[in-house]
């Protein structure tokens, strides 16, 4: 084993966070996010990253039930927040058009 699971996890999380920040900045340039959109997308993205970190860590420590619960408790709100955030962005866009 070259890298341990937790090392790969934190490396992947770093890449994910970078990509999310770049995407948010790029889409902000294109769509001009409102404060609400920033809050929803920001918190949603954070929760999504946290959900992944939690669930993979739980699998690595050998407690799959904690991983499933993590997906439910953190993952579902994360997706809802990101989708709502996307919706507010698109609504604003429609208004501006």
């Amino acid at each position: 084993m070259v890298f341990t699971g937790i090392e790969i996890l934190f490396f992947t999380l770093g890449v994910m966070v970078t990509l999310i920040i770049i995407s948010l900045i790029r889409y902000n340039k294109k769509y001009k996010f409102s404060a609400l959109s920033w809050a929803l997308l920001g918190i949603g993205s954070f929760l999504l990253v946290f959900c992944l970190a939690w669930s993979v860590s739980s699998v690595l420590e050998g407690v799959p039930r904690a991983a499933s619960m993590g997906l439910m408790v953190f993952g579902i709100p994360a997706i809802l927040l990101v989708l709502t955030g996307r919706r507010t962005v698109l609504k604003n866009q429609l208004k501006n058009d």
Binding site: M1, F10, S57, E61, G62, R65, A66, M69, G70
Partner: protein, 473 residues
Amino acid sequence: MNKLNSKNNNAINRRNFLKVGVAGAAIGAISIPAKGREKLVEKVNKNVGPNLIKVHDEFPYEINSTFKRHSSMDLLFSGALFGTHPEDTDILNSGHRFIENNQKHDNSKKGWDQLGAAINAGGWALHHAVSANACFSQAGQGILKWEQLSEAEGKQGSHSSKDWVSDEKYKFRDKQEASNAIKRAARLFGADLIGITKRDKRWDYTDFFDGNLMLQGKRDEAVYGWEKFPFEPKSVIVLAFEEDYECIAAAPTHLGGAAVGEGYTRMTKVAYQLSVMLKQLGYMAVPASNDVGMSVPYAIAAGLGEGSRMGTLVTYKYGPRVRLAKVYTNLDFVEYDKPIEFGVMDFCKNCKRCADACPGKAISFDTEPTFEPPYDNAWYNSTGIKKYYMDARKCIKVWGDFGSDCGSCVAACPYNKPDFWHHRLVDKITKLMPGPVHDFMREMDIAFGYGDVDNPEKVDKFFDASNRSYDGQ
């Protein structure tokens, strides 16, 4: 704040990241100039740190006027295995059944089979070979001896062990250097956590006894006091040893017992090694297991953790999954550690998972800690300390039934988790939240699948070879 930064100050690892600076690290990532970042992290540490880990100057639990030191003869194992209280046949019977059942295995039950029993025997083997009965609080056993040979005496015997007090006393530059050197050496020898505190007579047994003489009925000859101790101790170095998570999770089985025995084996080894090191520096030292004094209050005083509902120490890093050893020494030119508090006793008020899990119902369900045990006909030692009392009589009865260490309370405790970042994060959040949230945290701990005991799947998990490599790759 030194407390927070002292353990891993060479790198921002996951623990420190979570412990002292989620905000600082996050803002740092958005490239604030280095100087500003340092100031910000310092500010966050200053404001958030004390809320997470509080450092006390004195022993953190109230002690009232009814507190009395007690004899090592009042300990549960002394009564159960050496008959120090022969009138209490209940305890004696439990002790006898423990010894009898400890020799047995049951191949129809996972973890209680011959394989489990064999691993248990292996875990305990070295402890029993070199310091038999130290686990039962017998003082001066095997290599945990009280003997302090002078250099001249020592050199007449075996030169290689160097178990004598050097004529030349090593002078440390300052107390911190002494403390750092002792802790680094203890870590080298195999201790996981190390704290140093002043010797406190309150935690030492008033007297001791020779178990063999006691069993022969020579009670008067068997008992001896502190006059036999070779020096006036000034400091106590407390060592904590992590027990294997998967072994303890399999409790109550022989595997749980194996983790305990393996802990005792390392306790004996490291305490002895540290005592020889101190002797070679010119100071007197006596290594101790459960004997000489009470390990839990010493560990609390040495800043290794907090007390708990089940009576064991709960450490920040390993929860209750530790064993404790001590080294008494006359070295006092050393920096002492201070007791810490990170929310365990508060959490215990609402949690009660250990009390639920205890097969003997030996752990109190009272919400608040008390100065006296809340049971009738209970077996306990010190009273007058505000804590949760457990009934050792019920506890040893279960041990007798099992013929092995039980450990269900330790396995069920929400602080008993592997050393993963997300558990430390939950600990922090729990500490910052008020009592009602603790109830919720307890329920979530159950929902997330942690801490169930007497589960044969845990035994399978211990033996599961997937995701492990034993071949050096």
